[in-house]
């Protein structure tokens, strides 16, 4: 995470259109598709619960008129991890935190509605080394995108609604060592509400 600070400082100082620079803070929830499926073991499915969490970010204009911006976000969420199987023999595992870091291009759609698209890294951090996370956390590359909408509350502060989608491929060292091959495509969707401040 520390490696982001110099980059954040660099991009926030990169363009003179300071009136358009914003920082944002939002809270909400993230849904994730199933982490793993095993049809050989009586249709066992490993599921992450809906994860409450938050996002902090900055948006910096990269064109003179501010129509395109660079958005850098870091998000944290934590959720339950549970498995189910046809025979009912799978159970709950320890909670898993996810830390998402993304850099996205941002552009206007209509009015206060804007799109974002980019990529970054997603870190899984289990509370305990067990199950598919027997060797601890993993890091995956992700594609990310979404939309944002703002509504002015004061001259410098706006209500912010973020809709986010991301995609990555999931596998862990222990799954690979036990003979699992290929990757599980993971789709994540989130909705967050917060504030954005111009500076």
């Amino acid at each position: 995470m520390r490696s982001w600070f110099p980059l954040l400082l660099a991009v926030t100082a990169a363009h003179p259109a300071s009136a358009q620079r914003t920082v944002r803070l939002a809270l909400g929830g993230t849904w994730s598709s199933d982490l793993a499926r095993d049809a050989v073991l009586d249709n066992t499915v490993l599921t992450l619960g809906v994860a409450p969490g938050g996002t902090v970010g900055v948006a910096v204009p990269i064109t003179p008129n501010g129509s395109y911006r660079l958005v850098i976000e870091a998000g944290y969420s934590t959720s339950t991890l549970s498995a189910s199987s046809d025979a009912g023999n799978a159970g709950n595992l320890s909670r898993v935190a996810t830390i998402s870091t993304v850099a996205m291009l941002d552009g206007a759609i209509h009015g206060a509605l804007r799109w974002q698209a980019g990529g970054g890294l997603l870190f899984y951090r289990p509370a305990e080394k067990q199950g598919v996370f027997l060797d601890g956390g993993v890091r995956r590359y992700q594609l990310a995108g979404g939309m944002s909408w703002t509504h002015p509350l004061t001259p410098v502060l706006s209500l912010l609604i973020l809709g986010r989608y991301s995609f990555h491929e999931f596998i862990t060292p222990v799954l690979g060592a036990r003979g699992y091959s290929s990757y599980q495509s993971i789709h994540r969707a989130g909705l967050q509400v917060g504030v954005e401040r111009r500076f």
């Binding site: 793993a36 499926r37 095993d38 049809a39 050989v40 073991l41 009586d42 066992t44 490993l46 549970s82 498995a83 199987s85 025979a87 009912g88 023999n89 799978a90 159970g91 709950n92 595992l93 067990q130 199950g131 598919v132 027997l134 995609f167 491929e169 999931f170 596998i171 222990v174 799954l175 036990r178 003979g179 699992y180 091959s181 290929s182 990757y183 599980q184 495509s185 789709h187």
Partner: protein, 214 residues
């Protein structure tokens, strides 16, 4: 068509699934009614979710104590989907499985039909009777030649893991010397076949219930 190619590639990547291994190396874990078997019927056991975490006890001063944590870690680590959770407890009254460093009661080794005959030590574990497992399950692990013999620690490490495997549901022995569940085990750890076998046991029907304390 060329313009659609990137989209097709993205969709193909976005829909990939993990391919699970077939577990074809798993050996028989059930007690079958064959000649010489203690079972008159096919018997299959695993700890149900309602009985978890499974609590395991050995006396803190016991020669087995240093090896219990290792054995619990090995068997807990065999599962990917939370099928079983083993914990050590310090009170034998709250235990589901008790490991004792003594010869079986009444000096009757045959009372415990699941054995391990390793070099230097022997183990024996209670078996289910008439599709019922009486709790707590006792495992007796003892030195063949005395506690001070070189290599006894290694033997205890192997046999604690082996006997715990019986108490978890592997009610028979592996035919391969490369597995910890071989009748005269030499492997100090779990093989891939041991892992596949316990995974298979916990994803297959069981016909044994537990009774007694919990």
């Amino acid at each position: 068509m060329r313009r659609l190619l990137p989209l097709v590639l993205v969709l193909a990547v976005a829909c990939s699934d993990l391919f699970a291994p077939q577990r074809t190396d798993a050996y028989e874990y059930r007690c079958l009614p064959t000649i010489g078997s203690f079972c008159a019927d096919t018997v299959a056991f695993h700890w149900p979710p309602s009985d978890q975490p499974v609590r395991v006890y050995t006396a803190s001063g016991s020669a087995l104590a240093p090896h219990l944590a290792t054995a619990l870690s090995r068997w807990n680590g065999a599962f990917l989907y939370g099928e079983l959770r083993l914990v050590a407890v310090t009170d034998s009254n709250s235990a589901d499985i008790i490991l004792e460093n003594i010869f079986p009661p009444e000096n009757n080794l045959l009372r415990e039909p699941m054995h391990a005959f390793a070099v230097g030590c022997t183990g024996a574990t209670d078996s289910p009777v008439d599709h019922v497992y009486q709790l707590p399950i006792h495992s007796y692990i003892f030195s063949n030649t005395g506690q001070a013999v070189p290599g006894i620690d290694l033997c205890y490490s192997i046999v604690v893991t082996h006997e715990l495997g019986h108490a978890l549901g592997i009610l028979t022995h592996s035919p391969s010397i490369g597995d910890v569940m071989y009748a005269s085990p030499v492997l100090d750890g779990l093989s891939d076949r041991d892992r596949q076998t316990i995974e298979t046991a916990y994803h297959s029907p069981a016909n044994v219930t537990t009774t007694g304390r919990r």
